[in-house]
Structure formats: structure tokens, C-alpha cells
């Protein structure tokens, strides 16, 4: 089922579904939560041994995998919790202040 939420931010009160019930589940994919991040995990490809421990621990499935190898981090959903950096046995992931990256 698809729910057309075009222009929802301007909707009047009568248009919203009663009780805030969403009849189009699974739409959290379109709700990008990367903006919550304060620290960004930055991966050093040289140091990475492809053990995939970061993938196992990531609570947001934000470690991108292709052909059983880490190919990057999904910054649309990574909230910057830092678990991957803490768990990486080779210190191949560093948490970098977002404000410094943006400048």
C-alpha cells in the first residue's frame, strides 16, 4: 500500500489519519536520520581487514556491504553512535567531529 504524503508539512488537521496511524508501514526508509549525527565514522580502507565486525555491531545497518566486503558507510542513516569505531580491532574507523568536516 502506498500512502501519498506529498506536501504533508503543509497539510491541514483534517487530512491527517486519525490517531496518527500509518497505513503504509516500512516507510522509515524514507526518513533519513543521518542529520542526528554529531560525530562521523570515517573508515581507513588501508587498515581495514574486512573482518565485518563493524557490520555485525552497527545498530542501524549503516555499514554498506557488497560481495561480502565493506564498501562504505550509509551516512543517510548512520547516527554516529561510534559503536563501529569502538569495536574495530584494527582502529580502522575514526570518529570525526561533523562541524569540522562541514567547514
Amino acid at each position: 500500500m502506498s500512502w501519498d504524503i506529498k506536501g504533508i508539512q503543509q497539510w491541514g488537521w483534517k487530512k491527517h489519519p486519525a490517531g496518527a496511524v500509518i497505513k503504509d508501514p516500512g516507510n522509515s526508509r524514507s526518513f533519513k536520520t543521518g542529520g542526528w549525527r554529531t560525530f562521523r565514522p570515517v573508515r581507513d580502507e588501508e587498515k581495514c581487514s574486512q573482518c565485518l565486525i563493524c557490520f555485525v555491531y552497527c545498530p542501524d545497518s549503516a555499514i554498506l556491504i557488497k560481495n561480502e566486503k565493506v564498501v562504505g558507510i550509509d551516512y543517510d542513516f548512520c547516527k554516529g553512535c561510534g559503536i563501529c569505531a569502538a569495536e574495530c580491532p584494527l582502529d580502522a574507523i575514526q570518529m570525526v567531529d561533523e562541524s569540522k568536516l562541514n567547514k
Binding site: K14, H16, A18, G19, A20, V21, I22, P25
Partner: protein, 419 residues
């Protein structure tokens, strides 16, 4: 013993005392108020009941549990460890598309507090009889309305009962009101602790088939268990912010409730002979002054008011039945032109001489009238303090003085308080 067993031996009522003598589809029994409610629950036969016992509501859960154990209902009874859990289970079951009931009193209702707002915010038509009892401290098990009044802004419809018959009638009507697609709000049916809940009264139990037809089936707008049409319930809304819009929808549902409550009350009258509106008027048309009261006190006051009217005193009475939504417009219309009104409140707001909750709202309702009646408040019966005829007569004397002199001596009065 389950009440239904008693009913089998009872006589079909031939002589009706109601206002419609042509209806003959009920049995008159002598039962306590809690059994009148559990009888209504038996006939409603809800899918799920989640409840926790608390005096004086306990007897409802007790006799309903017996009905479940005896297989007289198909209800799934969830015995929880607290009222917080009772309402939580009720919310989950209702979101799953079930017809759900629970019941409570006093501290139990207070313990449900945060869930009350979730039930109404999710627009779940849960029906909950609440046996009115004082809130601690000091600990007190007797009647006043402070428990349900504390939940007056929780987005629940609140309907007061005058006696055991009304507790039964209101419980049946509450299902229809709550589940109406224009409303979808939870409903509290209120009955006075002990005065109604534990006193044996004559109650007419309508035939099962007629009640089943009246109550009908619940058609939920969605079900959490419907895997073909999955939904997300209990969503988070703080980032984009549509919360305000959802609250306005709840107010709209309350506005819709005025008509639905009247329609359901009329339809119930057709099967029972007992017609219900938002409030009941006694002699208001030709009255110069009136009393507004709710719950069991209305019975005592009506007795006195009718006696005084027979002696030519121009007094009237309004028994407030529906407290949420508050029928401000209709009450103002009814009371317009009166010289003075006395409002009886069985709870206090502790707002600094503002009076009880009914007084505050009724006085506000009268504000836009060109000719406003004088308004006096009587707070009575807290913690079960008896409301005697003598006390009502004292209040009536003051009401008549105010109407004749055009002056209110004291706006907020504590009736029956030891000075």
C-alpha cells in the same frame, strides 16, 4: 454466584415503571450496581477485558471473572498486575481490532494516568466503567468524583449515572458511542462508589437478543493483526510536528459526540423505554432558579425539587449526564432567563476559591448570555460525606435568597463540612 443464574428464575416484567409502557422485553431484578455493570458486560460480550481489582470496583471484575470461568462469555480475560498494565493491555488489544473493556476506581484510575491519554490519542474506543471513589491522602474508599474529574482533560468521553439502572444503560450505550466512526474515542461510564455500586436496586435487564442487536459488531478501522494490511500504531511525531493537528482532531471527535450521544440515547429509548440526552431537565421551563447536580445526588435532589414544585416554588433541576464533552451551549440555553443557579460538585479543584470543576465550566458556559443567572457553588460529599435532605434544603434556602435579593452571599460553599 454469577448474576445470570439469578436472572433465569426472575419474572418477566409485566408492569413497567418506565415512561414507555408498551415495551416489554426486559426482566426486573434486584441487584447491586456492580452486578448491573457486569450484566451489561456479559451482554456486550467484549473480546478482551483486562482489569485489576480495586475497591469499590472489585465486585465488577469478580462477577465478570465468574462469567468468563462459567463460559457465559467468550471474552479473553487478562488478569494483570496493575491498572497501568490493565490500560496498556486494553490499548494493545483495541489496536488489534478487539472490542475491549476494563474498569477501575480512584487510585487505579490515577495509576492509569499516562495510558488514558494514549488510549484517546490513538483513538481507541475502549469502554471503562469507573466506580467513583476519593483519591488519597488520607486513604478513603468512599465516593467522590475527584478520580474521574482528574482525568477530565484526558480526551475521554465521561458519562455519569444516577443509579444502578443508568450504570447498566450507560455501559451498553458507551459501546455504541465509542465505536462510532465519527468519534472513535474511549468512554468512561461513571457510577458513585458504594452509593450505587454496592446498594441493591431494581434494575431492568433487557433481553439478550435485543441488547446484542443494539450493541452490534465492532468494525475496527484497522487491526494490528491484519498481516495483509499492515499498519504502524503508536508513531513518533516530534521532528516534523503534526502533534497539534492530531489534538485538533480529538476535539473534533468530541464535538461530533454531542450528536452521536443524543442519537444513541434516543435509539436506546426505543428498546428500553428509557430515553437519554446530554442532561435531564426537571421543570426548567417555568423555573426561576435551579440546581445542577450529577451522579446519585441527583436522585435525592430531584425528590426535594419535585416536592417543592408541588408546593408552588418555582425551582428546577438539571441532572448533568454527559460531562465530557461538556454541553455548554445547551446548558446555557436551558438556564438562560433564570435568576440563580446552584451547582453541586462532588470534588474540589483547590484552585483558590474557584469552586468545583462543574461550577467552573458551567459558570464559563453562562458568560456569553445577555442575562446571566447568579451562580453559587456547593462542594459536598467529599470522601463519602453524606448529602442529607437537610443539607440540600439549606442550600436551596440560600439559592432562593440569592434569587430574591439579586445577590450571592458566598460563591463557593462547603456543604456538610464541620466548621
Amino acid at each position: 454466584m454469577a448474576i445470570s443464574n439469578k436472572l433465569i428464575n426472575s419474572q418477566t416484567n409485566k408492569e413497567k415503571t418506565g415512561n414507555d409502557k408498551t415495551i416489554n422485553n426486559s426482566k426486573a431484578v434486584a441487584i447491586v450496581g456492580t452486578d448491573a455493570v457486569s450484566e451489561a458486560m456479559r451482554q456486550i460480550n467484549p473480546d478482551v477485558v483486562a482489569a485489576y481489582p480495586i475497591t469499590p470496583q472489585t465486585a465488577i471484575v469478580e462477577s465478570f471473572s465468574q462469567l468468563v470461568a462459567d463460559g457465559l462469555v467468550k471474552t479473553h480475560m487478562v488478569t494483570v498486575e496493575s491498572e497501568h498494565s490493565a490500560m496498556s493491555a486494553a490499548i494493545g488489544a483495541s489496536a488489534a481490532g478487539s472490542r475491549v473493556m476494563t474498569c477501575t476506581s480512584s487510585q487505579g484510575l490515577a495509576y492509569m494516568w499516562e495510558l488514558l491519554y494514549i488510549a484517546s490519542g490513538l483513538r481507541l474506543p475502549i469502554v471503562m466503567p469507573n466506580v467513583n471513589r476519593a483519591l488519597s491522602a488520607p486513604i478513603n474508599i468512599h465516593c467522590d468524583h475527584s478520580d474521574s474529574m482528574g482525568a477530565r482533560d484526558a480526551g475521554w468521553i465521561q458519562i455519569f449515572s444516577e443509579n444502578a439502572q443508568e450504570a447498566y444503560d450507560n455501559t451498553l450505550q458507551a459501546i455504541r458511542i465509542a465505536e462510532n466512526p465519527d468519534i472513535l474515542l474511549p468512554v468512561m461510564v461513571l457510577l458513585d462508589g458504594f452509593i450505587i455500586s454496592h446498594a441493591i436496586e431494581r434494575v431492568e435487564i433487557i433481553d439478550n437478543d435485543i441488547v446484542s442487536k443494539f450493541v452490534g459488531d465492532f468494525n475496527p478501522p484497522y487491526s494490528l493483526l491484519d498481516s495483509q494490511n499492515p499498519v504502524s500504531v503508536g508513531t513518533f511525531d516530534s521532528l516534523y510536528g503534526y502533534f497539534f493537528e492530531f489534538k485538533r482532531q480529538q476535539e473534533e471527535a468530541m464535538l461530533n459526540a454531542f450528536k452521536v450521544i443524543k442519537d444513541v440515547g434516543k435509539e436506546f429509548g426505543e428498546i428500553s423505554g428509557r430515553h437519554y440526552g446530554l442532561f435531564e431537565s426537571v421543570g426548567i421551563e417555568d423555573a426561576e432558579f435551579a440546581i445542577i447536580a450529577t451522579g446519585s445526588a441527583a436522585g435525592t435532589i430531584r425528590h426535594l425539587v419535585e416536592d417543592m414544585r408541588s408546593r408552588g416554588i418555582p425551582i428546577g433541576m438539571i441532572k448533568l449526564r454527559v460531562y465530557r464533552p461538556f454541553p455548554a451551549k445547551e446548558l446555557a440555553e436551558a438556564l438562560s432567563g433564570l435568576k440563580a443557579v446552584a451547582v453541586f460538585d462532588r470534588s474540589d479543584t483547590f484552585a483558590g476559591n474557584m469552586g468545583g470543576p462543574i461550577f467552573i465550566e458551567l459558570r464559563s458556559s453562562l458568560y456569553d448570555l445577555q442575562q446571566r443567572p447568579l451562580a453559587i457553588n456547593y462542594i459536598y460529599g467529599l470522601g463519602g460525606r453524606d448529602l442529607s435532605i437537610e443539607l440540600i434544603e439549606k442550600a436551596l434556602g440560600e439559592l432562593i435568597d440569592a434569587a430574591r435579593s439579586g445577590q450571592v452571599k458566598q460563591t463557593v460553599n462547603y456543604l456538610g463540612l464541620r466548621e
